[in-house]
Symmetry: C2
Subunit: 332 residues, 2 copies
């Protein structure tokens, strides 16, 4: 089982893969995309993955066989395991616990050559429905404190399989960056009795300078304090704490704005590698009324260098006010 | 002039390049190392850089001409500018100031085909002497609160010029990650009246499980809570707050251990891209007795994926206890 280790200085947790450690030569290979054998995420190859956890399927098709539109399976190489207990303990001055958690793969399409941007709005909407469904199911397991949904698209973004998919990781603690974001939002709320994200959305919508697109329910913009060139965030316009309670009638509008943003990035940055991460409140515990869920999309077009690692201080080579012009010019 | 913008939620500062914004096609090119024209860091091409700030030279050689061993020049494309004032102000709910700072390049060798690992101990020691000298000089400018020295080696680590060099950035604020590290160290000190780094060094030296190498003055080890596979830290064994006050009789031992660590990484990871960052206390202000300077070395062998960006929670695919075996096996 993997180990969870806590840095006593920063409070950061890391997952250490003690079961199947990578050798130096594994990294050498990882620099290049792997050769295409049969794809485990394609129709007819369902036997290549662990048995499916959930799926949206055509009527009367059996599990683990073709006929699905969205399919969820356990990650074959999970960074955390679902069985066991946390067994929190110390080693000298160090703190650690067992690597308990869930690590799932959400396959958004059976077609190997399709990206989210090639799917129709209803298909993307089904993927979003599945994201929510998995959160609501895993939320029942009281060991889990946080669920993270993210996509690595392209080798430079950390994807090891070309077939479009997202990942879900359920964690036994709230991770450091999330705690920081929560604390920052709470400080603002304590001071002004308003949601900081709502205030940012209001300013962006009134200035319009950095807004990529909007519809009735959602807005996307290049944040004033972007960390990366062409970074884009998507927010629900109405204050909402949790992603996974998204009302079904808003799903299609989220699918539409997500697809539009990704199409604009693809059109203007030559089909870049990117990550997206859904930021949502922890599963239980406090009242997180001061929090506002959102999606952060980061094109991986320039390497993060020593300066950024050393300081958490980013250099943005294209200001959001300039990036927006390129994004708006894309014909979609 | 660049803009410094502050994230109101996380407190993170970013530098936004508003002067010479990159276009989408610039990123496409940046994925590959640039074609070799004449190298601005080689003997005879000194005219290609801005005039030198400092150098270690053979006697009777003039500035901005061959004859140097280590040369410091302003970065030709600085992320921050030395002239001007900070002009801190708000835009709606956002905070910003002008991009004031220093951005210098330290060229450790005149030879295009030499890396730090090809230099002799005395040559590496001279580079370290110059790192300290630049800090002591910039420290006189009271606008600067922090100096960061780092190296990007290889394209995957963010280097745009192949010729070996390090960079120095002087900042008008203490960056977020440094503040966090300081706060973590102070909390531990307040509780136990001991330096947390000294305690970690003591545990690592007594266990020996993760120690890469040591000499009279320094120790290097793969930290128990590594964020990256094959990450290595170098610490002075005796408690020291500031890097730049390094005594001259310890320079050679720092050069030796740095070179050994880099040789071991090179030997075991097929000459990987890497970053190193010197972590030192802020320039002035409080008493930072609880802090202990060190160098963090991060091989850039696996991409950082969405999970890490979203959570600040890292997955380490090779545990430090395993990585150490590969590092020790390297013949140097």
């Amino acid at each position: 089982m993997a180990e969870l280790r806590k840095d006593i200085i920063s409070g950061r947790w890391v997952i250490v893969n003690t079961d199947d450690p990578k050798r130096p030569e594994d990294f050498e290979q990882a620099r290049y995309e792997k050769k295409d054998g049969p794809c485990p995420f394609c129709y007819g190859n369902e036997y290549m993955t662990p048995p499916e956890i959930d799926a949206i399927r055509y009527e009367n098709t059996p599990a683990n066989a073709p006929g699905w539109l969205v399919r969820v399976v356990p990650n074959k190489f999970p960074v955390l395991q679902i069985e066991g207990n946390l067994d929190s303990h110390g080693i000298g001055i160090f703190d650690m616990m067992n690597g308990i958690g869930a690590h799932e793969v959400i396959i958004e399409t059976p077609y190997n050559d399709k990206s989210l941007t090639d799917l129709n709005d209803e298909e993307v909407s089904m993927a979003i429905e599945m994201f929510c469904r998995r959160c609501l199911d895993l939320k029942k397991d009281k060991r889990f404190k946080y669920i993270l949904i993210f996509k690595n698209h392209g080798v430079l973004a950390g994807a090891s399989i070309r077939h479009e998919h997202s990942q879900l990781i359920a964690l036994p603690m709230v991770p450091k960056n999330v705690v920081e974001e929560l604390n920052g939002a709470r400080r603002y709320y304590d001071l002004r009795e308003r949601c900081v994200f709502c205030d940012i959305i209001r300013q962006e919508l009134s200035e319009k300078e950095r807004v990529v697109s909007e519809n009735n329910d959602f807005v996307s913009f290049c944040p004033f304090v972007s960390r990366f060139p062409f970074e884009i965030h998507i927010y629900p316009k109405k204050h909402e704490v949790n992603f996974y309670t998204l009302e079904s009638n808003k799903r299609l509008n989220l699918a539409k704005i997500l697809k539009e943003v990704l199409l604009r990035l693809k059109g203007c940055l030559f089909d870049p590698a990117f990550n997206f991460v859904i930021h949502t409140a922890p599963l239980a515990g406090n009242n997180y009324d001061y929090y506002h869920w959102h999606i952060e999309i980061i094109p991986r077009i320039s390497p993060v260098a020593g300066f950024e690692w050393g300081t958490g201080f980013y250099v943005v080579s294209t200001p959001p006010e300039i990036a927006i012009n390129y994004l708006r010019e894309v014909k979609i």
